[in-house]
């Protein structure tokens, strides 16, 4: 059970990485073709939901982790920050009246999201306080 939950949690995290990589290309000025951003956005939606659901399930499934461990609560906070940034980026990128200033702000938001996702990975690996 633990193995499969970890697999699904990891696959979800990789979907988030797909979004981060594709939007990094957009942030450095690459014009992405047609459906690429659509795929990136769906990866973000599914990956975000998957990491949360399977992550909480994993925490409840293993006796050595408690839902209220500091690193799990920290991960939840980072997850909500990343999700908020991701949803804002999606909404503003897909808005038809985007301006140059918007593009710079969106790129900044994307890089902050990227740092948050890397922070999540750090928490998942080091598990401080576990």
């Amino acid at each position: 059970m633990y193995d499969w939950l970890l697999f699904l949690h990891l696959i979800s995290a990789f979907l988030l990485a797909v979004t981060v990589v594709i939007y990094s290309a957009v942030a450095i000025g690459v014009t992405t073709p047609g459906r690429t951003r659509f795929v990136a956005d769906r990866c973000w939606d599914v990956g975000g939901l998957g990491t949360l659901i399977f992550g909480i399930w994993l925490a409840l499934n293993l006796d050595q982790y408690d839902f209220f461990d500091g690193w799990i609560l920290g991960a939840l906070v980072l997850w909500f920050i990343a999700t908020g940034l991701g949803q804002t980026i999606q909404r503003r990128v897909n808005a038809p009246d985007g301006t140059g200033d918007d593009a710079r702000a969106l790129a900044s938001m994307h890089w902050i999201r990227t740092i948050v996702i890397i922070g999540l990975l750090v928490l998942m690996i080091w598990k401080p306080g576990a």
Binding site: Y2, D3, W4, L6, F7, L10, I11, A13, F14, A17, V18, T19, V20, V21, I22, A25, V30, T32, P33, G34, R35, T36, V39, C43, L62, Q64, Y65, I118, L121, V122, I125, W126
Partner: protein, 144 residues
């Protein structure tokens, strides 16, 4: 083994972090390559292979060797099958990356909008994505 992974020693963490970060760059770039080539943006596909997939593979593979050395999994007899799966997936993948990059590079240089070279690179990207999914499954479920 999975429970051991959950309580691994702290000095394995950096190697694991590097390994996973490289793998994430590799998979994310492979999806970008597949999307770009499917949409006939060969130049983007080629650049993603060169500046995303190849560096991602190097970081992932370097991290893998680093953590394998720390865990001393290669000294075990027999070597765990999930380690074998990792090597069997990652090592041939370098060859596929090189072939796909050369194909996409030539197609981009010729300004082709389609053709066999783009199709080959796209098919290889698809194969590599499936191989990555198998490797992630093996690394997380650690089948004996």
């Amino acid at each position: 083994m999975s429970l051991l992974a959950a309580i691994r020693p702290d000095d394995w963490n950096l190697a694991l972090f590097v390994h996973i970060l490289g793998a994430m760059l590799l998979v994310g770039s492979l999806v970008l390559v597949a999307m770009a080539l499917a949409e006939r943006d060969i130049r983007l596909g080629y650049r993603s292979l060169l500046f995303g997939v190849l560096p991602g593979w190097i970081v992932m593979r370097g991290g893998a060797e680093w953590i394998a050395e720390k865990e001393k999994v290669n000294d075990l007899d027999p070597v765990p099958s999930w380690v074998d799966v990792g090597y069997s997936v990652s090592d041939p993948m370098l060859l596929l990356i090189i072939i796909a990059t050369v194909c996409a590079g030539i197609a981009a240089r010729r300004q082709q909008r389609g053709g066999a070279l783009r199709g080959t690179a796209l098919a290889l990207a698809g194969i590599m994505l499936v191989a990555c999914a198998v490797a992630i499954w093996a690394m997380s479920t650690k089948p004996t």
